[in-house]
């Protein structure tokens, strides 16, 4: 019997089915594409998860960039569609002092406050990423003199400095090893762009990916500022069966060790 009610129920169920199927594929795709952690964002970008909800994909930053560094992710790039990114080996960020890409952002996905010190734009505090040296394939670590990345660095001697070490192999030369200081490195990628090896031995990656976090258990006792963290420390003692006695007594206790 075909009644209007049955028709209605079937129609509703069909629509719900199509919507559920579509929704599943849709969210699977979004999940997949947002899983890419290796994307370098323009200066001042919010944390990736906030960035993804806030960027409207208008391309104003891309248009503002005078070096064509930034591009919007296209289908096939395996990045969240339409979001701005850059690949330093192709074109690095030249760290313009007036940061044209940031103030044009209509949604605040590029946060002007995060690149401002004392009410003035300051590209030196941008955190687009951090450079990492592959010491096995960096020819400076082989003992060949190369300071391409060091010379290219806009924050020379701060973000990249050279560490000198005697070359024991020859006995008369020195290693000039490039070392990145993550406190200063902005992730502009001029080093990666300048690197002379076939595939760059210094690479910029998103900071979240490689910057560790010590946690609360270790404190630099020699550093006054770090020592201050102790004032926030709280004491929490767990009492167990063993900890009723003192540690030494517990160690000296032979009971139960021998069969007799």
């Amino acid at each position: 019997m075909v009644t209007d009610r049955r028709k209605f129920i079937l129609q509703t169920a069909r629509t719900a089915g199509v919507v559920a199927l579509g929704g599943l594929m849709w969210s699977a795709y979004v999940d997949e594409v947002t899983a890419n952690k290796l994307i370098l964002r323009p200066p001042g970008a919010l944390k990736e998860e906030d960035f993804l909800s806030t960027c409207i994909k208008c391309g104003m930053c891309v248009e503002a960039c005078p070096f064509d560094t930034l591009s919007l992710a296209k289908p096939g790039d395996n990045k969240p569609l339409g979001t701005p990114y850059f690949e330093p080996r192709e074109i690095p960020c030249y760290m313009c002092v007036d940061i044209p890409c940031v103030p044009v952002c209509p949604t605040g996905a590029l946060d002007i406050k995060s690149v401002t010190t004392k009410n003035e734009l300051d590209i030196d505090i941008a955190e687009m990423g951090v450079a990492v040296v592959d010491t096995k394939n960096c020819i400076a670590f082989w003992g060949i003199q190369c300071d391409a990345c060091y010379r290219a660095c806009p924050l020379l001697d701060k973000a990249i400095y050279l560490e000198y070490e005697k070359n024991e192999r020859t006995g008369k030369h020195a290693f000039l090893k490039p070392i990145v200081d993550s406190d200063f490195c902005t992730g502009c990628g001029l080093c990666e762009h300048a690197c002379v090896t076939k595939k760059a031995a210094i690479t910029v990656v998103p900071r979240d990916l490689v910057i560790g976090s010590v946690g609360d258990h270790y404190i630099k006792g020699w550093d006054k500022a770090d020592e201050k963290r102790l004032t926030n420390a709280h004491t929490q003692i767990n009492t167990t069966e063993i900890s009723k006695e003192s540690a030494v007594d517990s160690l000296n206790d032979m009971e139960g060790l021998f069969d007799d």
Partner: protein, 272 residues
């Protein structure tokens, strides 16, 4: 020439409007023109008037993003413009996908597909479900869900910022509309169209039907991408008040009897 004017005047104007807007955006990116910069998601008119896609802003809100004043103003301006004009003016006068789906629909008519597939197997209300789903998924996934897959944005960005594999999205929509579902994308699925259909219900520019002139040739219904809005044709003299009407004006052009015309919405119901 008169024939061209009579039968295609709005179509030509629409194509000019769509292409001109695209050229202005391309100029904004490649040659630094300051008339309009950005893209349809968000742009800057004359270098200082913000314009933003209100549906994208809504998704951002659902995703938990902080909405800046600039964005809110831009979205408000666009909403008000389309509210006054009649919401889906965007769809037929601005949106780049319109040209793709119009092409598919044209081929459909020329190849008589509509006579083979007389009944369309899907409901036009799916788009409102997709609209709801966009917001729900935005909330759950914390991203602007529709903006991640929107073929409108893909097409528009492909034109302004470079193609990539963007052509595949355009091709899929074209084939879908041509072979699978008549008016499939714009008339059944697109949540942006659904959004403008909802906000544009109160629009002032409306098509008006005069029943006494109508000869019931039904050319208008054949050409209309949302022909359910023309339910009154040959039956009653009414204005097309449904928000799903895109104000494309095709029905007006194909009518040989002057029974359809653009008009201003009558605010009070006429007494008969």
């Amino acid at each position: 020439m008169t024939n061209l004017y009579n039968n295609y005047r709005f179509l030509i104007l629409r194509r000019i409007s769509q292409v001109a807007l695209m050229l202005l955006y391309i100029g904004g990116n490649y040659w630094g023109w300051s008339f309009v910069q950005g893209n349809l998601s968000s742009s800057l008119l004359f270098g200082f008037i913000p314009l933003s896609d209100p549906f994208a802003a809504l998704q951002m809100f659902a995703a938990g993003a902080i909405i800046t004043i600039n964005l809110a103003i831009g979205a408000l301006i666009i909403t008000l413009i389309y509210m006054v004009l009649g919401g889906r003016v965007f769809c037929s006068w601005v949106c780049p996908v319109n040209m793709i789906t119009d092409a598919a629909n044209y081929l459909r008519r020329k190849l008589d597909f509509n006579k083979i597939q007389k009944k369309q197997p899907a409901s036009r209300n799916i788009r409102y479900w997709v609209l709801g789903l966009s917001l729900v998924l935005s909330y759950i996934l914390g991203v602007t869900a529709f903006e991640f897959i929107s073929p409108i944005s893909i097409t528009h960005r492909a034109i302004i910022f470079g193609l990539g594999l963007g052509w595949s999205a355009m091709l899929i929509i074209f084939l879908f509309d041509l072979f699978i579902l008549k008016n499939g994308w714009c008339g059944h699925i697109c949540p942006l169209g659904a959004f403008y259909a909802t906000t544009g219900k109160v629009g002032l520019i409306r098509v008006d039907h005069e029943e006494e002139k109508c000869t019931a040739c039904m050319k208008c219904k054949e050409v209309c991408p949302e022909n359910q809005v023309l339910f009154m044709v040959s039956k009653e003299s009414l204005q097309v008040l449904d928000g799903e009407c895109t104000n494309c004006g095709r029905c007006i052009e194909v009518c040989d009897d002057d029974a359809l015309n653009f008009s201003i919405r009558r605010l009070q119901k006429e007494t008969k």
